[in-house]
C-alpha cells in the first residue's frame, strides 16, 4: 500500500506539471507580447487571471457536459459506438 500511495502521489504531481506546461503555453500567447527585461506586474496579473479563467472554463464545460448528458444521454452512445 505504501508503494501504491507513492505511485498515486507521483502521478498526481505528473498531471499537475503537465497542466502547468499546457497553461504556460496558452497564457504565454494571451499575455506576453514582447518579452522585456522584467516580468511587469500587469503581465503577471494577466498570467494569474489566465490560469484562474482557464480552470473556470474547464470546470464550466465539464459541469455543462454532465448536465447535458444526464438529460439527453446521446453523447456517450456516440462515443462508445
Amino acid at each position: 500500500p505504501q508503494l501504491q500511495h507513492f505511485i498515486e502521489i507521483e502521478s498526481q504531481k505528473q498531471r499537475f506539471q503537465q497542466l502547468v506546461h499546457q497553461m504556460t503555453e496558452v497564457c504565454w500567447e494571451k499575455c506576453m507580447d514582447k518579452p522585456g527585461p522584467k516580468l511587469d506586474s500587469r503581465t503577471e496579473v494577466c498570467f494569474v487571471n489566465c490560469v484562474e479563467r482557464f480552470i473556470d472554463t474547464s470546470q464550466f464545460i465539464l459541469n455543462r457536459l454532465e448536465q447535458t448528458q444526464r438529460s439527453r444521454g446521446s453523447f456517450s452512445e456516440t462515443m462508445s459506438d
Binding site: 497564457c27 494571451k30 499575455c31 487571471n49 479563467r53 482557464f54 472554463t57 464545460i61 453523447f75 456517450s76
Partner: protein
C-alpha cells in the same frame, strides 16, 4: 472494461481540445472573473464543437462505408 476506458479516454481528449479551442475563442484578455458574455460564448462554442465533432464523425463514417461498398 476496456470499452469504458477507451470511452473515458475519448471523452477526456474531446474535453481537452474543446476547452483549448473555446478558451482561445471566447476569452480575450483574461479578467478577474468569467463574465456573463464569456460564459454565453463558451456555452455556444461547446455546443458548436459537439455539433462539429458529430458531423465529422458521421461524414467520416459514411465515407468509410462508401469505400467499403466500392471494393
Amino acid at each position: 472494461q476496456v470499452k469504458v476506458q477507451i470511452a473515458v479516454a475519448n471523452a477526456q481528449e474531446l474535453l481537452q481540445r474543446m476547452t483549448d479551442k473555446c478558451f482561445k475563442k471566447c476569452i480575450g484578455k483574461p479578467g478577474s472573473s468569467l463574465d456573463n458574455s464569456e460564459q454565453k460564448c463558451i456555452a455556444m462554442c461547446m455546443d458548436r464543437y459537439m455539433d462539429a465533432w458529430n458531423t465529422v464523425s458521421r461524414a467520416y463514417n459514411s465515407r468509410l462505408q462508401r469505400e467499403r461498398a466500392r471494393i
